[in-house]
Every structure is written in C-alpha cells, then in structure tokens.
Amino acid sequence: MTAVSVDGVWKFYGDYPALRDVRLDADAGTCLALIGRNGAGKTTLLRTIAGFSKPGKGAIRIFGQEPRETETRRHIGVIGHGIAVYDELSAHENLTLYARLYGLPDPRRAALEWLEQTGLERVRDGLVREFSRGMRQRLAVARAFLHDPSVLLLDEPFTALDDRAIAVLQRLLREALANGKTVIMSTHQLREALELSSHVALLNRGAVAFHGACTAEMLADPGWVYARYGEG
C-alpha cells in the first residue's frame, strides 16, 4: 500500500523553483532517506508533504488523502528543525497539550507513558526552558511519536542529538518500521540514516536525481550515491 505519494510537485519561492517536478512514493512499512546538499529542497519537500505549505503544482497524498485534511493529519508525526515544545510549560504539560490536540483518549496518561519511553519521567514537572539540549530533543521525539502516527516525517532528526537521544530515536524508528509505519527523513548523517532506510531519494537543486532501493554499495560507502548520481 502506498503511504505517501508525491506526484509532479513544484514549489516556488517567488520565481525560484525550490522543488521541480518531484515524483516519489513511499510504501507503508518502508523508510525513505531524503539526501542532498544544503538547499537541494529536502526541507521544503518534507514541509510540503506535512501540509505546512501547499505545492505550486502537483499533488501530495497521504494514504490517498490531502495532507491538510483533518483526518490525514492524525496520521502524520513531524520532527522539524525546531523541537516544537513550549519553554514556558513543563514536559508533562507539553505532551498533555499535544495529546489533547490529537484527541488521545487519556491525554495525561499518554503523556506520562511517553515521558517514560524517552527517559524524562523524573523531570516531568520541570519547565522545558530549564532542560538540557538532549532532554529537549528527547521531548521533541516523544511529541512526534505521542499519537502513534502512521507516517513520520523527520527533518535531519539525528543532527545535534546526543548519544542517548540518538539511541532513543533509532529504537523508536525501528519499532515503528516493524509495526508497519512509514518514515521519510531528510538527513546529512548518511550512515545512521542508511542503516534504517529501505529506500533513498537524492534531491539535486529541487529535482529528484535518484530514487530507489538502498543498495549494498550505498551501505558500504554512504558517499557513493552522491558520486554516482549527484553533485559528488
């Protein structure tokens, strides 16, 4: 089953085409690594898939639905560049807030469960502004996974994570993939990403230069795909 379908998507910033006729599919239970140099369009593509902005041309479907449909948004979890939690609220208040927005049956309990999953239960009532960077990032991971999304969109998820947060995220991503979730992640950390990924898409100046299964050559040499298809 196709979980995410990107069909001929163009995205313009003024006259500049940040995405050029992008065509991608990601099946349920697969992990697609979006790679490319800075400015290649990875973040723009992820934000468009997430429904944060509309494509100029083309269509995006999540399980056959528009990303901006309310029902579709229940199935999407996003980790962007920011941690998307409030500094003025406690860890528990932040997760409870999102649990309520996503309509989980017992928001406070769901929040506590995810604080435990990410090792933050001891600081549940601490304000986020007092957290270390690693703790903030683990809280961001908990927020994205809280509502059990079917599609996870991760924008450079391993960047600036501490070892513990990397371990937590990798474990959660492996569990998610084992449970049939779909993961699309943009990344510069090719080795970490390719260990998880079943597919790779290389973006070059807003266009897809390569899209296919992750191969032995890529795992042996993460730079191979750049050398072969991109701006190597």
Binding site: M1, F52, Q65, R68, R74, V78, R100, L101, P105
Partner: protein
C-alpha cells in the same frame, strides 16, 4: 468527516474515539488555556501592556484641564487610544510566542482547524486585554474623576475589546514571520479597527456624560456589534489561508 478506507486501521481507532470527545469548543479551550498558562508564567506581554496603559493615563492627566467640563467629552477617545495601543502589546506576542521552537508548525500539523487555533488564541488574548483594561479603568477613574456605570461600561469594554482582539489576532498570524512584525502589526491593525474604535469611543463618551448606551442612542452599540460579527466571520474564513497559504 468520513475516514477513507485507505487510512490504516491501527491509526483510525484513536481518531474515532477522539471524535466523540473533542468537540470544537473543547479544542478551542485547550489552545486558550495553553496560551494563558504560557503568558501567566512569563507575564511579559501583560506586564508591558499594563505598565504602558498606566503610564499613558498618568501622562494624559497632566495634559488636560480636568475641571473643564469639555474634558468629559474626550475621555472616550483617550481611554480607547490607550486600550488600543496597550492591546497591541499583548496581541504582538500571540503568534510570536509560537516562533522560538517552531511550535507554530506543530500546531498547524495537529488535526485541528485553523478556526480552532484562531478562536483559542483570540479568546486568550481577549481575556488578557480585558484584564489590562479592567485594571486600568479604576486608575483612569481616580486620575480623571470620571466614573462609568459599571454594567454599561462592561458591555462597551466587552464589545470594543473583542473587535481589537479579533482583528489583532488575525493580523498577528499574518505578520508572525515578518522581521518587522512589531511595526507592521499596528500599521495593519489600526486602520481596520477604526469603526470598532469609533463606536467604543462614542459610547464611552456618552457614558461619561451620563447618556445610556441603549435606548435612543443605541446606534453605535449596533454598529459595534455589527462590526464584531463581521470581523469574526471574516477572520474565521481567512485564518486557514493565513496559516498555511
């Protein structure tokens, strides 16, 4: 809204249960409570707004001859200019509060409508601006020796403040990603607020001179109600476009 057959079963279950629990009003309350809690922890907007209102009221006190009966006819204008400027300080923070950790993205990604987010934020702003006004009003009474009939003044405050809040909140969303948003918000908001401010000023001046706001002089009250309804409807219709484009 019907869930399509293609959406995975595992994720549909909590959504179905959610639909029963989370009414529109409940989600609006969740957003409002979040904003109020965040503001009351920092008090950065309310403190600035209140300090501004009190200082300006004190300064105006020295600018006018309070023994002149004509002063009573301009108190409505004075008061609402202060409320409009002080209110902008609260409204500026409304969506700017979402910027530091990209929280706005998470709100936009959540399965709630733009109207829900907007109304939650507008109600939080409304309560904060109203609180600033209710604290400023006795200060005004003491310095200017002008006291209003409380019930009628509360009606004017409620209607005028909603007009300021609803327009200010939608423009706060519109300007949130602009570098000069602190400048742009008042520039965009005040021209739109002219009818609501006119109504509020005239009604407040009436109350200061002993004329009730209803009865024969209810025209401005109707104008104020009409603009509030119009502003709210337009804001609800436009907010999704403002947030997502």
């Amino acid at each position: 809204m019907a869930v399509t057959r293609e959406l995975p079963d595992v994720a549909v279950k909590p959504a179905t249960a959610e639909r029963r629990r989370s009414s529109f009003a409940r989600l609006v309350f969740v957003v409002m409570a979040k904003d109020l809690r965040a503001e009351l922890r920092t008090k950065e907007a309310v403190n600035a707004s209140l300090a501004f209102a009190v200082v300006i009221l004190v300064l105006f006190n020295f600018a006018f001859d309070l023994d002149d009966p004509a002063t009573r006819t301009i108190v409505g204008g004075l008061l609402w200019l202060v409320f409009a400027f002080a209110g902008t300080l609260v409204l500026n923070r409304s969506f700017a509060r979402e910027l530091p950790n990209d929280c706005l993205d998470a709100l936009v990604a959540a399965p709630v409508s733009g109207a829900t987010l907007f109304l939650g934020k507008a109600l939080a702003n409304y309560l904060l601006v109203l609180a600033v006004e209710l604290v400023s009003l006795p200060v005004f009474g003491i310095f200017y020796n002008v006291w209003f009939p409380f019930g009628q003044m509360l009606v004017v405050l409620a209607l005028g403040t909603w007009g300021i809040t609803v327009i200010g909140t939608v423009f706060s969303a519109l300007t949130v990603n602009i570098r000069l948003r602190e400048v742009m918000l008042p520039m965009l908001t005040y021209p739109m607020l002219v009818p609501a401010l006119m109504g509020s000023m005239v009604l407040t001046a009436q109350l200061a001179t002993g004329i009730p706001i209803w009865g024969e002089s209810a025209t401005w009250l109707k104008v104020l109600v009409g603009f509030d309804v119009l502003y709210t409807a337009a804001a609800l219709a436009l907010v999704e476009t403002v947030l997502v484009g």
